[in-house]
């Protein structure tokens, strides 16, 4: 993975740039000292590190606007950053770029129960929003596993998901409005407390744009009443194929569970050894199916799920009878990543989505790759929506293992695309999967996406080097090639 070559001309003007930023954000809001810059050198994808040229921490929308406009005028690149929990390197700094930290935007502005929404600054954590409305029994539905740390602004950049998103949607389905700043300093408001915004769904394309289109300075999200109750059932199968069949049968029966997670044998064993959740160890696949909603519904459906599991040949089934037991079912799943971390010095977490019916084939091919690369793999899987999280176990201290793990991971993601799926279900492309984009998209697809980028940021200064494998000049992308008289389908029906 290579980042765009730093511009020596910009680096040579570092003092001038820092002075210009200090004129906008006074005092400690501009960080230029190397030891302090160190804190920003990577995000959640720690394999890649780079010191930023300078860090700026604005506190108002006006400051963000002036910082961006100034950077545009000076031809300086900008990398926005929330809490830095990205797993795809979305906030990886640039040696010749300003890192724009949004941490000071940490206030909730308006809690509006009548309209069932919250207006907040983008640096508030995902869980912070839920906590702020919990006293009235409300919550914010998307729940990425990093929810204690990740910010709502970052969630919008990445269109974050979580274990409940099959039923409750991703970030994009739960955002009502944003205020954002474009690279030229323009401040825009898209959407609001009403359900439909006029014109193009610009908010829809900004959500999940990985910080390439603008910097979000205010967010309006919808909040939901907490489900009255939740119960879970733990189901074990002798083969992963049966586990997959069971998931398909549950959905075919019209049931959309609040959460539906699957783990394979290595993941089950790692989790059980770590937290002693009481998981069965003699199964190849373990499902956690959680049903939430009114008690009458949950009781009704939990029986139906148990029946479906039996009909699909489950060899283990346990229904939670208390909140404590339900949480214990989840304890193993939620600790799966650190549990794998205990049995291997390092692990690499992948994030492809597949059509669920391809699961047996994908697991089999993954096992073959595991043998070929001589690296173990454990699988946790958002089974309801087909989002795989294979964890590749490696040891970075052994020469060549990191590279092998990365190649293995790339092969897994190519396999996801090959069977009709996609490179990333919720972690984003970032720098990590950037060079695989051509496996999923043709050049014409990527050109159209980059032209959207040009509409927002014609100089390509905002977070360059992420998402797109090749950087094009907007002028070059914008040219229209007209071929007169070249109608290739003379039989095109017309009347």
């Amino acid at each position: 993975m290579r980042m765009p070559a730093p511009d020596d001309g910009v680096i040579a003007r570092r003092r001038e740039i820092i002075a210009a930023l200090r004129a906008i954000v006074p005092g400690e809001g501009v960080i230029a000292d190397e030891s302090e810059l160190r804190a920003y050198e990577c995000d959640g994808l720690t394999a890649y590190r780079q010191l930023p040229m300078v860090v700026v921490l604005p506190g108002t929308t006006e400051q963000v606007s002036r910082v961006l406009r100034t950077c545009k005028e000076m031809g300086v690149k900008v990398v926005p950053r929330g809490a830095g929990t990205s797993l795809s390197g979305g906030a990886l700094p640039l040696a010749d770029g300003v890192l724009l930290g949004m941490g000071k935007f940490n206030r909730i502005l308006d809690i509006d129960f009548a309209n069932r929404c919250v207006v907040t600054q983008p640096g508030v954590t995902n869980l912070g929003i839920s906590n702020a409305v919990a006293h009235e029994g409300f919550y914010y539905a998307p729940d990425p596993s990093s929810q204690i740390a990740c910010t709502i602004g970052g969630n919008i950049a990445e269109n974050s998901g979580g274990v409940h998103c099959l039923k409750y949607g991703l970030t994009t389905n739960n955002v009502l409005g944003v205020e954002m700043v474009l690279m030229d300093g323009t401040v825009l408001r898209l959407g609001g407390k009403h359900l439909e915004a006029g014109g193009y769904d610009l908010m829809g394309v900004v959500t999940g744009s990985e910080g390439l289109l603008g910097v979000v300075t205010e967010v309006t999200v919808r909040i939901l009443k907490k489900p009255a109750t939740a119960r879970a059932v733990l189901i074990g199968f002798p083969t992963s194929e049966q586990g997959g069949d069971c998931v398909a049968a549950i959905i075919a029966a019209g049931i959309i569970p609040g959460g539906m997670e699957m783990m394979d044998r290595p993941a089950i064993h790692a989790a059980e050894d770590f937290v002693h959740a009481g998981y069965p160890l003699d199964v190849e696949a373990l499902l956690i199916v959680e049903l939430d909603g009114p008690p009458a519904e949950v009781d009704h459906l939990i029986d139906r799920v148990a029946e479906i599991a039996l009909s699909k040949g489950c060899c283990y089934s346990r229904v939670s009878t208390s909140e404590e037991e339900r949480l214990s079912f989840w304890a193993g799943r939620k600790a799966a990543f650190p549990a794998v971390g205990r049995i291997s010095p390092d692990y690499y977490c992948m994030d492809g989505t597949i059509p669920r019916k391809a699961l047996p084939l994908v697991l089999q091919r993954m096992q073959e790759m595991s043998d070929r690369y001589a690296l173990r793999v454990a699988n946790v899987f958002h089974a309801g929506d087909g989002n795989l999280h294979p964890l590749i176990l490696y040891d970075a201290n052994k020469p060549g293992e990191l590279e092998r793990a990365e190649s293995f991971g790339n092969d897994i993601l190519r396999l996801c695309v090959e069977v009709g799926g996609v490179l990333t279900g919720e972690h984003g492309v970032g720098v990590e999967k950037r060079d695989l984009m051509t496996d999923q998209f043709d050049e014409v697809d990527l050109d159209q996406q980059q032209r959207i980028k040009c509409a927002f940021d014609p100089d390509g200064l905002l977070n360059p080097g992420k998402v797109f494998p090749k950087l094009h000049r907007c002028a070059e992308l914008g040219r229209v090639h007209v071929h007169k008289g070249e109608l290739r389908f003379p039989d095109l029906p017309r009347f």
Binding site: G192, L195, A249, T353, D385, K453, L492
Partner: protein
Amino acid sequence: MTVTTFKPDTAAQAADAVRWALAEGTPLDVAGSGSKRGLGRPIQTAYTLDLSGLSGVVAYEAEELVLTAKAGTPMADILPMLAERRQQLAFEPQDLGPLFGQPAGRGTLGGVVATGLAGPRRISAGSARDHTLGIEGVNGRGDLYKGGGKVVKNVTGYDVPKLMAGSYGTLTALTELTVKVLPAPEDGRTLLLAGREDAGAVAALTTALQSPHEVSGAAHLPAGVAARSRVRGVAGAGGAVTLVRLEGFGPSVAARVAALKEELGADAVLDRDESLAVWREIRDVAYFCPHPNPPPLRRGGDLSPSPASVGEGRGGGNDARHIWKISVQPSEGPRVAESIRWALDAELYFDWGGGLIWVAAVPAPDAAAAIRGALGAAGHATLVRAPEDVRTAAEVFHPLPDPVMALSRRVKESFDPCGILNPGRMYAGV
């Protein structure tokens, strides 16, 4: 006037037609079945790109919750196919044919996504945008490209499908779509509260929506509108009715109906058939339809045409009133409605818990200013039905703030630099 229509059979042919238009420098009127041609700003082109020949379901995998179909596939083909597997498009797509004096059931999947319209379940299930997973289409450069994916969870690259929803064919001539499909509810009932004023009704709807009972429809029909319902329990209530829909598995619906009836002090419960019928009326704005002789109501399935307005009273027969769709923050709904009633000779009703107001207004020169003035910054208003000359002169879609308009123009140019695809359908010059 349109003189020539291109009707491609394949996506490649559609691309060819756009390339030809680009070479000729002539714009195209991009259309599906044309059932919503009356919606949006009128455009005048010499050529039409008719996508209704691109028809057929490419893949439907109920267990994967996805359906891929060519853009011109009639909804009348898709909905029964989903119903057979007890699934649906959860955003409850509207069938606005009758509102424009046309038969029901004529729309296409591409048209549903391109207009981005959603029904009463918008409050709980989202809109067309939330269910559009992947697209393939031809941009204004004549490039056939794809965006999004064919699985329910995907964040790879920009979410191009979202931009397509509600873009009225101005960015891309869609050739294929992949949409999320979800289980259809096993049962559905509606609580009815009689005789509430707007403010009291929206307060009751708010209470219902703040409850944990998973309300999937929240509407208020003032007395004059309720009287025109063909659902006996609604028209026979003798005044305004406030409606709260609960859907899901049988035992769950029964329990929630019982609990919420008590909490709201509801006056009646509509049974499954009445519930289906009234929400179809609300969805399709049946109360303001011009049909003199409504088609007979077919039972079962989502395909049944909405019972159009009765042919009596004001607005029946030849309803020449202008129809406005107003999206507003729900708590402001009653205030906005009050202002509109004060300024215009208008009838209206509320959906989306007060957040959507459908208005039928007797034509008045200052109607747009009155409605948009009443809204202020609390929402936006679209002129859904009006004669062509009115839609040419007025701003059909809510005017956008300057910076948003400027960005929208650049986004349009990024797909269609020469203005080939439906230019001016939404905004002049876009």
